[in-house]
């Protein structure tokens, strides 16, 4: 389809000017534009976090409250998930290892899989679903009901009080939750191993500790800080900058989970590349 525009020429006659249809280019242009706008404003938001975190006053009480909400209240969900992952992974891996006569490697293989990759990533995804969406929805709802404006007029820095405390709590709590889920996951694996056989806890855990190395534990632990930070900052960004109205609250919660989860995979991919580089 072509676009025709009628223009008046200098001699007063109407002239037709024909333009090619450019809708698709416009759409893709605006999508790319919006993507870069979003990335740049998220980066500015994250930089503001680092600026505000070192500036007094420090909101210790609110941070403790948020750490309790984000960390302690997530323990049951993370614990149950960790146990099931350990149990299921053991049950599923046993037949394959048995085929190759390597059943005795089961505890070591499960432990390495759980600690290096599965528990950190699955816990982070659950964390994005529970905590990321919670932060996004809460801040968006505060935005809609003018609570953030009310903080501003009572001389409180809402960014410091709401965003810094939540992002910091998410960054510090996720690694602890992952350690907790690792322990519960290994217990699940122990139960899984003993469903078809009899292995003492001493033998099981000594096999695990013999197979695990520093390079298995340390990078897996460090990357969870980045997962927690990404989930916290994306949830806060989406909530704090939500559009007014109830639709905005839903969108903020939803996009917090979607982008938080996506960032977990991206960070994981980068972390694996860096770890592999040092291993080689």
């Amino acid at each position: 389809m072509k676009k025709i525009i009628k223009k008046q020429s200098s001699n007063g006659n109407l002239e037709e000017e024909v333009f090619p249809e450019i809708t698709s280019v416009k759409i893709s242009g605006s999508v790319i534009e919006r993507f870069f706008e979003e990335v740049s404003s998220l980066t500015i938001f994250a930089l503001r976090f680092f600026k505000e975190i070192v500036k007094p006053p420090f909101e210790f009480n609110e941070m403790l409250k948020q750490s309790f909400q984000i960390g302690y209240r997530s323990l049951p969900l993370v614990g149950i998930t960790g146990f099931i992952i350990g149990l299921v992974l053991t049950i599923q891996s046993r037949p394959t290892l048995a085929k190759f006569g390597a059943e005795s490697w089961l505890p070591a293989m499960v432990a390495v899989s759980i600690i290096r990759e599965i528990i950190p990533v699955i816990t982070a995804l659950i964390f994005a679903g529970k905590v990321g969406s919670g932060i996004g929805a809460e801040l968006a709802s505060m935005n809609v009901t003018e609570q953030i404006d009310a903080m501003k007029v009572s001389c409180t820095n809402p960014f410091k009080y709401l965003v810094v405390t939540r992002v910091l709590s998410a960054t510090l709590m996720l690694p602890l939750l992952v350690v907790f889920a690792d322990i519960i996951g290994l217990l699940g694996a122990f139960v899984g191993v003993n469903l078809k056989g009899s292995v003492s806890s001493y033998l099981f855990f000594s096999q695990i500790f013999q197979s695990l190395e520093f390079i298995d534990i340390f990078p897996a632990f460090i990357k969870t800080f980045f997962f927690g930070f990404a989930i916290g900052i994306i949830g806060s960004y989406k909530g704090y900058n939500s559009y007014k109205g109830t639709e905005g609250v839903g969108k903020a919660a939803n996009s917090s989970v979607v982008f938080g989860s996506l960032m977990v995979f991206i960070i994981d991919m980068i972390a694996v590349q860096i770890t592999s580089f040092f291993q080689n």
Binding site: S141, T145, E146, Q147, D149, A150, V153, S154, C155, T156
Partner: protein, 258 residues
């Protein structure tokens, strides 16, 4: 009645003539939408100024500019003798502490109880306040608005009128010199609206505050206004007392009183 945008002098006879807020040729737009075109107004100490106008004429934007939630595009805003555009962040914070803002929705913190809602501004601004003094201030603020018995309830357990009154108590606890009310009676029944209007008057008498009241409620305007300004197309289109405007021959102004 003024029909064009000239600096308005206020009701100088009634109060002690000290100007607390002055807006001179104030302009504010959002994108291509020019909301405030050329606002000129003054508010004297202890005066209640009501701003009337159709929805979307920039009434709320005007008071948000005063409290610093929106930034002016152009013009001069003088609060308590200080030109806002010339102040640094610290000086601006000092001015902000003297301004109370009652939001249309009350803007209560849902995750906090009534007591915590009142404690919040006190803790932020009077960091070293002793517990006994804080309890006394909270009790006094709640008694002022008739909500003493709700201290341990959460905002979700309060009615619309109670939420408005609690919002007012939270603002009053810091003893502001200037009060800004954003549609204080919207969504309330006529009896509760009258109670809120009476409360605005009581607050003015007790704390000698100067107030700007944004409202569509003509009964609220009648009860509370020392002076009324009508906004139209981003300018102050008319000014006068309630009776001046009620007796106006302008059909557009008369429409507010029908």
């Amino acid at each position: 009645m003024t029909t064009e945008a000239t600096p308005l002098k206020g009701n100088n006879n009634k109060r002690n003539n000290m100007i607390v807020v002055e807006m001179i040729h104030v302009k504010k737009s959002f994108g291509e939408n020019q909301v405030l075109c050329d606002i000129n107004l003054v508010i004297n100490k202890g005066e209640n100024l009501v701003i009337l106008g159709k929805s979307g004429t920039g009434k709320s934007v005007l008071i948000k500019c005063i409290v610093g939630l929106d930034i002016l595009d152009d013009g001069k805003l003088v609060i308590l003798g200080k030109n806002i555009s010339e102040l640094n962040d610290k000086e601006l914070m000092v001015i902000r502490r003297k301004i109370g803002f009652l939001f249309q929705s009350g803007a209560l913190y849902d995750s906090m109880t009534v007591r915590e809602n009142l404690e919040f501004p006190l803790r932020r601004q009077l960091i070293t306040i002793p517990k006994e003094k804080m309890d006394m201030l909270i009790k006094e603020a709640l008694e002022d608005v008739g909500l003493a018995e709700t201290i341990d309830l959460s905002p979700s357990e309060l009615s619309g009128g109670m939420r408005k009154r609690l919002g007012l108590a939270r603002t009053l606890i810091l003893k502001p010199e200037i009060m800004l009310y954003d549609e204080p009676t919207t969504g309330l029944d006529p009896i509760t609206s009258k109670e809120i209007s009476s409360l605005i008057l009581e607050v003015q008498k007790k704390y000698n505050t100067s107030s700007i009241i944004i409202t569509h409620d003509i009964n609220c305007a009648k009860l509370t206004a020392d002076r009324i300004i009508v906004l139209k197309d981003g300018i102050c289109a008319a000014e006068g007392s309630y009776s001046d405007l009620k007796n106006s021959t302008d059909a557009w102004i008369q429409a507010f009183f029908e």
